[in-house]
């Protein structure tokens, strides 16, 4: 194997080789790792009057675009799990698959939960549009046609934000329903296994894949339907 060579004239940073120093550094690194999660998840609050700072509606649109991408990834995982469920030969394996599916659906539901970042940003974007419309109505700086143009644009943005929020509400309802279906089926399979009705449990597992397939189709439709405001 070829050894990596240090470029000439470049001083490579030296990491402490002393064992005690490394042990002492480990908690600090762990702390940094532990903190990086929530810091990344938090979104920047909009600063009024500063055009360089991302506004609530921009941030909402960005989050929606990211969400569509993650929906597509999870949608593929759900499809793969459904195919695997069709081939399952024993209930224990089926239970494990349902548990994995619950994790995928849980991710989707977490993304659209009412106390999640996307919902919060949607509400913020909507109230910003309302405030803007209210202030523009009273604004005397612009000519009537300019003022009307701005009002129309903000009305348009408000309308598309409202539509996106409605789509998210629908997604929340669908994902919650799918999660409930998975967990009640899992519980039923568990009960069937306790009374050694393994054949019946397998039947329930295979029937479940049809329900999940329907949910996957709904997810695809949802993906096509969500339009970030201003896009």
């Amino acid at each position: 194997m070829k050894k990596l060579q240090k470029p000439r004239g470049v001083t490579m940073p030296k990491f402490p080789s002393d064992r005690r120093t490394r042990v002492a550094l480990a908690p600090a690194l762990l702390l940094l790792f532990a903190l990086s999660g929530p810091l990344h998840a938090q979104s920047q609050p909009p600063v009024p009057g500063n055009p360089d700072v991302v506004t609530a509606d921009d941030e909402f649109s960005k989050q929606l675009r990211d969400l569509k991408k993650s929906f597509a990834d999870v949608g593929k995982q759900i499809d793969d799990s459904t195919k695997a469920i069709d081939r399952i030969k024993n209930p224990e394996e089926g239970r494990k698959s349902i548990e994995e599916l619950r994790e995928h659906v849980g991710k989707l539901l977490g993304a659209v939960a009412d106390n999640g970042d996307v919902s919060r940003l949607g509400a913020l974007a909507l109230s910003r549009a309302d405030e803007k419309l209210k202030s523009l109505q009273q604004d005397t700086r612009f000519k009537p046609d300019e003022k009307q143009f701005l009002i129309d644009k903000w009305r348009e943005l408000r309308g598309s934000t409202e539509t996106a929020i409605r789509d998210l509400d629908g997604a929340r309802k669908d994902f919650a329903e799918l999660l409930r279906t998975l967990q009640t089926n899992e519980d039923y399979i568990d009960e069937l296994m306790q009374i050694r009705e393994h054949e019946k449990a397998l039947q329930v597992i295979h029937q479940l894949s049809d329900g999940i397939r329907d949910a996957s189709v709904k997810l695809q439709k949802l993906l096509g339907g969500i339009k970030p405001p201003g896009a």
């Binding site: 005690r20 042990v23 002492a24 480990a26 908690p27 762990l30 702390l31 790792f33 532990a34 999660g37 929530p38 548990e99 619950r102 994790e103 659906v105 849980g106 539901l109 977490g110 939960a113 009412d114 106390n115 999640g116 509400d169 929340r172 309802k173 919650a176 999660l179 409930r180 967990q183």
Partner: protein, 117 residues
């Protein structure tokens, strides 16, 4: 000695990171009738924002939480619910009863006022 202390700190931090990353489920709060003006509800100390069409789905850390209601002279506990990892617990609050009452999909074997998903 220092190494032992550092190892302990490392273990605590690792545990904290695992707990935060690993444990969340969902609670669906419904109010019936959905048209009724919903009373101010709290999950432990956090106020639940206005329920859209009488329903809200919230991400919650796993464990037991209290559903409380604003009443004269403080909050009253309506019921407790158990949140399990990647599971959804549905709690319906009936405003038809005075005081409002929790209706659970499934109840705990011990306390009938504990909802389990």
């Amino acid at each position: 000695m220092r190494a032992r202390g550092a190892a302990a700190a490392l273990a605590i931090l690792a545990l904290a990171a695992c707990t935060r990353e690993g444990g969340s489920g969902y609670v669906e709060i419904k109010t019936v009738p959905s048209t009724a003006r919903a009373p101010a509800l709290y999950i432990d100390a956090d106020r639940i924002e206005a329920l859209k069409s009488g329903t809200t789905v919230l991400r919650q850390p796993i464990g037991t939480a209290k559903l409380q209601l604003d009443a004269d002279g403080g909050k009253i506990t309506l019921c407790q619910f158990v949140v399990k990892k990647n599971r959804i617990t549905t709690v319906t609050v009936s405003s038809l009863d005075r005081p409002p009452r929790c209706q659970c999909g499934r109840t705990g074997s011990g306390d009938p006022r504990t909802c389990i998903g």
